[in-house]
């Protein structure tokens, strides 16, 4: 079996070398590919590169379809143009462009980023349409559809010619690329990946969903403004219509075509978006390229035909789209008239056939050819620390109630948890246990009653506020950060400390061997332990475990019991929902029993077990009451 050539290089190092070579090549290109036209195309590519790296922050990293980038690009361009008209110097004009995009971008982000999916796409689309209207109609400032002309100021004392300006754009592209990469590989970037998988978990663990989304969007907007500024200085003439829906579609599709969540992908997309209109004018070259693409899309079909399967939609559709593009490129009267249609066909083939884009396809091909040296695992340190001295009660809940429609899910519950205590919360399915934890952790706002966590009262209905008060929780239905590794999952949850501390938390739950494994590839039991480690990494003053043993194997349950004992020994009080009665009996200092939203019993495990109300609750709710089996099906509590 061919396992690839070992270059003895780390992947990051290899990427850096190739990137620097690329930029040196791009810088030297005007010497070989001469002429004003070529230089114009290259400059446009660099500007689009900055713009698409910005767009990738939302479309790729946040996973939200952002249709406002073209408008922000336009606002940046107009900001710069107006600043130049007012006599601003070159650097000031650039800053004006960034601000002109950043401020409206922030104004849009705050309401829009509370939304998801189609609603988010729609609000950005509205913003974009609105911006173009404003640019068109504010004729006294922008001259509306007539357009705005400016003369490029000189950079300090140097009057930049076209080549000089191209190099400047390259420098800006390089910097944007580099900073984006640093930013998105940092803890900030990990948090963004995490919140894409589970916004509820990122809030509950105090990472802050909205804050990170807004920052990512703001970064994207700033880059749009910067690109817009360069665009204005490059062309010297602006018209609102140029920043409308057509450009937006091109940009969006450029990012997807190049490959999301990759600066290389954004750059590849920019190259395609800048060069494609040019390619369309050269018919022979264009048909050759399309034929080549068409042949490439046939490979997956042949592969499934060889294994005697009917090609799936995913394999057949790109070939059909490319064939249609080929027919158009050969037979249409005027290929440029069909520009949008051909672009649509390409993109259709790319989105369906290459979900990770060009960059993704190239990277996975390279991974097959070349073996990279993995980063060494960081040393293990950290773990439990002696608990800080805290005088207030970990949890004090007074007369808490919450209804959903007519159902009183939690009804007038008063409950305390003491220092160094494990409180078990049990009850039949649907008795309100999970709702109780959801209230304490801030997922729901209570209808009435108060919650005090370690002496502070968090804002009702705010996961973040409960988390900063010291609450941490796990989820009955797992909420893993599927795109992250185990180590990264811990890293994003830590308020302080680095990789070694994160390794320490993995050792606490005996997962340090699997630090590099992606959560999407981990087993169910491991993920349950990882959720506990995640919660511990926030150094909670109250840990809430929602059915941690559900669906676990016998040996795993034994491991879990040991773990919970060691957490208690480290001084972290625990609220434990559990259906395994033996686990509850073994671990809990006191047990609270809920039924129909009410607290019906509170005492030691033995006391509760012989309480007639408790026996009745279980008998009435479940035939198999003597050994209440764990049930893995989701239940609405």
């Amino acid at each position: 079996m061919f396992t690839g050539v070992d270059l003895g290089l780390k992947e990051n190092t290899a990427e850096r070398i190739v990137r620097i070579v690329l930029f040196i090549g791009l810088g030297a290109l005007p010497a070989f590919w001469q002429g004003q036209y070529a230089l114009g195309l290259l400059t446009l590519m660099a500007v689009y590169g900055v713009l698409l790296i910005g767009l990738d922050a939302t479309v790729g990293y946040l996973g939200q379809v952002n249709l406002a980038q073209a408008a922000l690009f336009g606002l940046g361009a107009y900001g710069t143009a107006l600043a130049v008209q007012a006599g601003a110097s070159f650097p000031l004009a650039l800053i004006a462009g960034v601000i002109a995009a950043l401020l409206p971008g922030a104004a849009l982000a705050l309401p829009a980023l509370r939304l998801e999916g189609p609603q988010f796409a729609l609000s950005t689309l509205s913003f974009a349409t609105l911006s173009v209207i404003v640019l068109n109609e504010s004729e006294s400032i922008t001259h509306g559809a007539l357009g705005l002309s400016i003369v490029r100021p000189s950079l300090f004392t140097v009057a930049l010619d076209a080549r000089g300006f191209y190099w400047l754009c390259l420098v800006v592209l390089f910097m944007s690329w580099w900073v984006s990469q640093l930013l998105l590989k940092s803890r900030f970037g990990l948090s963004i990946e995490a919140l894409r998988d589970s916004p509820t978990a990122t809030d509950a663990l105090g990472i802050g969903t909205l804050r990170h989304k807004v920052l990512a969007f703001a970064w994207g907007s700033a880059l749009a403004g910067l690109a817009g500024a360069l665009h204005a200085l490059n062309f010297g003439y602006l018209q609102p219509a140029a920043f409308g829906y057509d450009l937006m579609v091109m940009l969006l599709l450029g990012v997807v075509f190049g490959g999301r969540r990759s600066q290389w992908g954004a750059f590849a997309g920019a190259a395609v978006v800048a060069m494609l209109p040019n390619l369309l004018s050269n018919r022979t070259l264009f048909s050759t390229l399309v034929s080549f693409g068409c042949i490439l899309t046939l490979f997956p079909i042949f592969r499934s035909l060889i294994s005697r399967k009917v090609p799936a939609f995913k394999e057949a559709a790109p070939a059909v789209a490319m064939a249609a593009a080929l027919i158009l490129s050969l037979f249409a009267n005027n290929v440029e008239e069909w520009r949008k249609g051909i672009f649509a066909l390409f993109l259709f083939a790319a989105v369906v056939g290459l979900p990770d884009g060009l960059a993704g396809a190239v990277v996975s091909a390279l991974h097959k050819l070349i073996r990279f040296t993995p980063d060494p695992l960081p040393p293990v340190s950290g773990g439990f620390r002696p608990a800080g001295i805290s005088v207030s009660e970990p949890l004090h809940v007074l007369k808490l109630s919450k209804s959903f429609g007519g159902v009183r899910a939690v009804d007038n519950v008063t409950l305390d948890i003491g220092q160094d205590e494990i409180l078990g919360l049990i009850g039949p399915n649907g008795s309100g246990k999970t709702t109780f934890i959801n209230l304490v952790s801030g997922l729901y706002a209570p209808d009435s009653g108060t919650i005090e966590i370690a002496g502070t009262r968090p804002l009702p209905g705010s996961l973040m506020s409960a988390s900063s008060a010291g609450a941490a929780r796990t989820f009955q239905n797992l909420q893993p950060f599927s795109g992250l590794t185990a180590l990264e999952s811990i890293l994003v949850c830590q308020h302080d400390g680095g990789k070694s501390e994160a390794m320490g938390w993995l050792r606490v739950v005996a997962l340090e061997e699997k630090a590099r494994q992606r959560c999407s590839e981990m087993s169910y039991g491991d993920l349950r332990f990882l959720e506990i480690a995640r919660a511990l990494a926030t150094r909670p003053r109250l840990l809430m475990l929602d059915e941690p043993a559900a669906g676990m194997s016998k040996p795993d349950i034994a491991r879990l019991v040991d773990l919970v004992v060691s957490i208690k020994r480290a001084g972290v009080p625990i609220l434990l929902i559990e259906h395994h009665q033996d686990v509850v009996a073994e671990l809990c200092d006191r047990v609270a029993v809920m039924d129909g939203g009410r607290l019906i019993a509170l005492g030691t495990s033995d006391q509760v077990r012989h309480n007639p109300k408790v026996i009745e609750a279980y008998l009435g709710a479940d035939d198999d009451h003597t050994s209440v089996q764990s049930k893995s099906e989701p239940q609405l509590c």
Binding site: G63, Q64, V65, L108, L110, P111, A112, R114, L115, G117, P118, Q119, A121, L122, S123, L125, S126, F127, T129, L130, I133, V134, N136, E137, T200, Y245, V249, L252, L253, V256, F313, K314, A317, A332, E337, W338, R339, K340, G341, I342, F343, A344, L345, L347, F348, V351, V352, P355, F404, T434, N438, L443, F475, Q476, N477, Q479, P634, L636
Partner: protein, 294 residues
Amino acid sequence: MDAKYIALAQMAVGGGLMGMAYALVAYGFQLTYAAGKAVNFGQGELVMLGAFTGISLAGSGLPYGVSVLGAMVAGAALGWFVERVAVRLALKQHNEGWILLTIIVGLFALSFVENIWGRDDRPFPVPWPAAPLDFYGISVTWPELAIAMGALGIMIFVELAKRYTMAGIAVQAVSADPEAAELCGVRSSSAISLSWAVSGAAAAFAGTVIGPVTTVGPTMAAALTLKAFSVAVVAGLDSGFGLVIAGIALGAAENLSGYVLGSGWREAPGLLLLILALALRPQGIFGKKIIRKV
């Protein structure tokens, strides 16, 4: 009454009647959203294709009613096609790829229309009388009335079909819970396809009634998608007839702001309101609040 107020009322009524068309397209969004939690970002292109198909059929000498029916059949086929090529796979993979793919299919449709029918606006011929009706000084044209009647008629017809036919009940079952519906023997992919076909037919019909009022051209598509989507979101993607109210309100607001602020600003207040509505009540004014479950 003051002439100025009459002019304003005239604007509001004309806009409100046009708004019924937005409501109808928005209704198409509701249908597909209920069935498969996806909408067509190229719905405006379907409206446009429906209108052009209607024009070509009428131009070939077919009677008006048959042309409209033909456009609806074409719209249904296109709606089905969009679901099959752009939505099904992405939804199976639980990603947002369908937003991109429906935009892409719409883009192709736009290019197709530009090259087959040309870039110029065309009138849509109708058999209605040319003279407008007069209600207390406010005039209403027959094509405008046709929008209101047609939109309401189609919505009522589909709502009845959803409640009283087996296919309609199956679609409702799938929108409530696709897996449970499958276990009861409903093929959820067929139910979703059916919703998309009906949604496409509604969009094409909207094209045939909007066309006589505005004229038909490739530029009508993008704006229509946005307006109809606004109506659907403001009303709530899952609320039945809130659409009609939201549609009328948007249409009237648009005409009034065009009259008061200048024609370039027509769409601005609606868009601003949309962003605000989304920020304050993401589930829509008439929609139900979503409870997060973990």
